[in-house]
Structure formats: C-alpha cells, structure tokens
Amino acid sequence: MARITLETLRHSYVEKPGSDVDWALASLDLEWTDGGAYALLGPSGCGKTTLLNIISGLLRPTEGRVLFDGTDVTDKDPVDRHVAQVFQFPVVYDTMSVFDNLAFPLRNRGVAEPAVRERVTEVARMLELDGLLARRASGLSADGKQKISLGRGLVRSDVNVVMFDEPLTVIDPHLKWVLRSKLKEVHQRFGNTMIYVTHDQTEALTFADQVVVMLGGRVVQIGTPVDLFEAPRHTFVGHFIGSPGMNILPCAVDAGKVVFDGETVALDSPPRAVPAGTLELGVRPEFVRFAPDGIAVEVVKVDDLGRHQVVEVRRGAHAIKLIAAEGEAIPSERPRIAFDPRRARVYADGWMVEGGASR
C-alpha cells in the first residue's frame, strides 16, 4: 500500500508533440492517499487508461514523475512497482485451473505454498469462486473469467495499488451490481489503495470515495460523489454525471444579478464581479420545480417513469428538464418554474464561478 504522487505528468503518443491535441494527457498533478478508493471517470479517449498505464508502469510518461510513498518509480518496471491491474477484457491462463490462475502472481514471487493456498482460498471465497477452484479456467463463462482476473488482481497482499480498467464491461448487466458491491466490500476488507477506471457513472460513484473526472486529457474535478452531484465544478461534470444531466442555460450577470432570458434568477451566492468568458447558468433537473411566481414556460413533454416524472419545458429556444414527484400534477395553465437558489450556479467558459455573498 502506498501514497501515490503524480508530479507534472504529461504524456503523448506522438513522437514530437507540438500542439495541445497531441497530448493524450495534459499536465497533471495528483496526490492519492494510502488506502483510498479512487475512480477515474470520463468518456472514451479522455486519457484515463493512459494515466492508469503510467501508474502501473506499462507506459513511461513523456514528462513528469510518479512517486510511490515519496520514492520515484518512474523508470521502474511493473514488476518492481508491486502493482496489480485488472483489464477490461478477461485475461486468464487457459492451461491452468482456476486455483493455479489465482496462485500465479504469488508463485511467481516465491510465496510459500501454504501461504498461497490460504490466500487463494480467501480470495476465491470472497468472489464466490470457491466451488470452481479445480476447474480449468478456459471452460468458464465471460463472467467467471473476469472474476478470475479480479481475483488475480486482489490475491497479493503486498501490492502498492490495485488498478481496474473498466473491469465490468463484459459482465452481464444483471450481475454488474453484484460485482460492483463485491469490489467495494473487498476494498473495505483489505484496505488497499485502489484505482478504478470507467466511463460509467454508477460504477465510479459507487466504488470510489474520491472521483477524478477527466476530459480531453485534463482533470476537471476531483471530489466525493456528493460533491460531483451537488456542486459540479464544470458544466461537463454536470452534464456527464446524472441522468438526465444538468440544464445548462445561457445567462448574463449584471450588478450582482443573474439574468436568464430576461428574467432575474435568485441565487444564494451570485458572482461578485462580472466574470470573463461565456456565461452559463447550470442547474440540475432535480433542483428545478414548478412555482407560481417563477419563470413562465411551456410544457413540451412529460415522461412518467413511475418513481418520478421527467418534464421537458421550453422557454424561448431553451429546453429545460425538471423532475416532478410521482403523481405530482403538471400545471397546464401558464406553468412557471423556479430554480433552487442554493443549487443553481453560474459557469464561465464551462468553469464554475465562485459565489461572493455567503448564504
């Protein structure tokens, strides 16, 4: 287990990177504490797998350093870094039994056989593989194989960090949540530092204490799941996390007042000065409600999802989604909506503008 520090890390797959687009990973500084559960979340091509491979040592960064517990490991091989990694698609050694597969990383490091046996049995029990230990790994289903991959990642107790690269891609949707929670359980049990890469918000938020949201090779926000939901620092985070995502509406700031389409929007902490750049107002559908004294809109569409209703309303050219409770009556005569003043925020060029006035 280790504290992981990334210092001004940059990486490019191009021989001589010139412009910004050549960088798969733009300058990055991160510090991860020992024993934490972290997730790297972002759409495909955002650089999360690159970052993972740099940490595990499969890739050498173009610039910057990787430190484990303060020691520079940038030039070390994966073996010497003592890391474990689980890949997107199951990797099993077809020739071996399930037991031998799980024991493989331990035996390669000369662990005594009784210790191997004990550790493998423990991990197998946790992943519910104990009935299959004598079976040949090649005969298993994709789920079973991926469990073996997970098991091999978890079987060593001396690792600095365990890394998961979208490990649930091949798992049947109905089993996903089982493994998701298993991983969480494993983390609590073993207390390893774990890093989990995914594009699936549910996996990231469920697994991690701290989620790192990435876009285009940059980190846009690091925070707890609650932070990301309630206070997205970037419109991308607001849009990417949550379904439906955050409403993002053009706005203007004038003398401490926020104006959307001619209407003043009350905010608890409006920006003090007029920020530079394109200004937008971001508010999640959960924090929009019908209110008699709000902004006049027209209702476009209502999706009744049983547990709640997703209502799409329109104000001029702008579509706004809001969530109404189960069975709540949707006003048909001159509906008006209001934004939760504590949760609506102003964004300049995509980035959240810190509020001035205290609540």
Partner: protein
Amino acid sequence: MTLELNGVVKRVGREVHIHETDLTLEPGAFNILLGTTLAGKTTLMRIMAGLERPTAGAVRVDGRDVTGVPVRKRNVSMVYQQFINYPNLDVFENIASPLRVARRAEAEVRSRVGRVAELLRLTPYLRRRPAELSGGQQQRTALARALVKDAELVLLDEPLANLDYKLREELRDELPRLLSERGVTVVYATSEPTEALLLGGHTATLHEGRVTQHGETREVHRAPVDLTTARVFSDPPLNTASVRKAGATVHLSDRIDWPALGAAGTLPDGYYTVGIRPYHLTPRPLDGDAVAMTAHVLVAELSGSESIVHARLGDSTWVSQSHGVHAVAVGSDETFFMHPGRCLYFDAAGRRVGG
C-alpha cells in the same frame, strides 16, 4: 398497418423458445418488448420480420397471412444491437441502399438520404466508411437506413444497449420524435424497464418465452397483472415478501406490520406476497402514511442522480431507491420508510389482487 401474431409458437429441437402467443401490435405507435436476455424478445421480433418462420401459428399484416413470405418481400426495416452496416459502402450509400435496391431515381435518393442524414446529424460523415465512425455514429447510420425506407414496420432490437449511457440518453430522446412523426408501427426490444418507461407507448412484457402482459406502458408498470410482470418491469429488483393479512393489519413478521391501506384494504384475511417498489422504500417519508423500519445497510450504489441502497431487514434483503446522491455508511443501521398505500399484493398463484 396492423400486425397480429395468432397462436405463434417457436421450437428449436426440443427447446421451446416461444410458447403459444397471441399479440396485436398497436398500429402507428411504439410497441416495446420488455424482458431479460433470453426471454424471447429477439425471436419474437425475428418472427415478426419474417427472418424466422414460426413452428406453428400465423403472422398477419392488415389481416393478410404473411407467415411464409420472405423478409425481402415485406416492407419492414430492422436495427440490431450490434452496429450493423455494410463495411464496403460509405455512409451515404449505406443509407441509400434500400432505395437503390428499390431502383429509385437518383434525385429522389439524394433528397431522401439528405433529409434523414440531417435528422440524425450524419451530414458531415456521409463520405466516410462505417469503420471510421464512432459507435454512436455507426448506430445512427443503421437507424437512418431503417428510416429512409419508409417501412410500415420498424423493428429495433435493443438498438441502444451497446452505447455509452450519455449517448443512449440522447438517442432515446430523439427516437420517439423521429418515428412518431412518420406514423409507422415500431417494435422496440429492451431489457431495461427505465428505457421502456422513457419511450412510453405500449409494452408487452416477456418472460421465458411467454407474453405476460400487454398494454399501455405506464399502465403495465403501474398495474401489473401478476408477480412475474411486476418483477420484469422493475429495476432495481422488486422487493417481495410473504405477509399475512389479519383484519386491518398486514404482518410481515412478529415485529413488523403496517396498516392495510390501499390494495390491501379490500383483501380477505390470509397469506399474500407483497411487492414493494424500491422507490417506495425511501430514507425520507413520501407521505403521512409512511411506516418507519430499521434495516442494516449492505451496499450503497450511486448512479448519477439516484442512490440505491441494499439493506437487510429480518432475513431478506430489500432495496431502496431515492433521489439524489447521498452518502450512506455501509454497515450502519438506517431508517427506511415504506408506504403501505402503494404496495402491490399477489395471491398464491401470483395474480395481483386488491384495488
């Protein structure tokens, strides 16, 4: 157009894939086939398309028996879960292909392909090959090809399942709009209850090769006829438990009971299965009738805008679903509120009873 299945059965070897099924699609509307993998959605859809011949029974279009008619003689179009496009043709020719086969005039092909490509935002990619497109663009191309044909019946077999969820959201929003304008009959297979609800229209729930219920989507969700349907149409899984109704009280165990409100009110005393939807078991009460109970938190799942908590209550595991992202400590005891008036009750045969 109307499409009817009369007593359709599909057997392969000794296995029965579809049990005797009667189904009439709602003309000009979204018809959703909802069920888990292997429930028989794809088979049913392939029979409708004419890609497979039923072992018994008939498929009727506008009253005419078309059972043996091969697919290319029917006016249908189909989109698969995998992104299926002709790899040797560019996007334009891919979309144009049904028109080319039908020998339409060049000008007509151009204008129709142009229009559909515009709708699906494919215009910038028309000269690319499918392999050079992202998954979302590939599936859009497949959809465009299905749309350009002006088929009477459009079959969509889990078309969004292989896409990232943000893309899925986007396309799910667009699809009903694109299709309802044309007034075609759509069949849409999905394994996700939420998707069915978002798409609306009509839903047939499938379980192990049988249609368990068919009706308006919201109605099927709100009032499932039996336990199987309720289970199929619930994600996260429906909480079920065996209860005993005695007088004005429903007993779950010696210690936990609640007033017999709602559906339970009219039931005779006896044993029932109660179904509580995860969103009716919440960390905060939804209404005044809520009954509080304490459960041991096993797992907390956070999706982007909802929290799903699996908790142990007595000797069964229950699932609670609530709005927003909440930090829930795993291993702690939390109070949950259930809402007796919103429960579903099923008799021993699994039929829904009461209210």
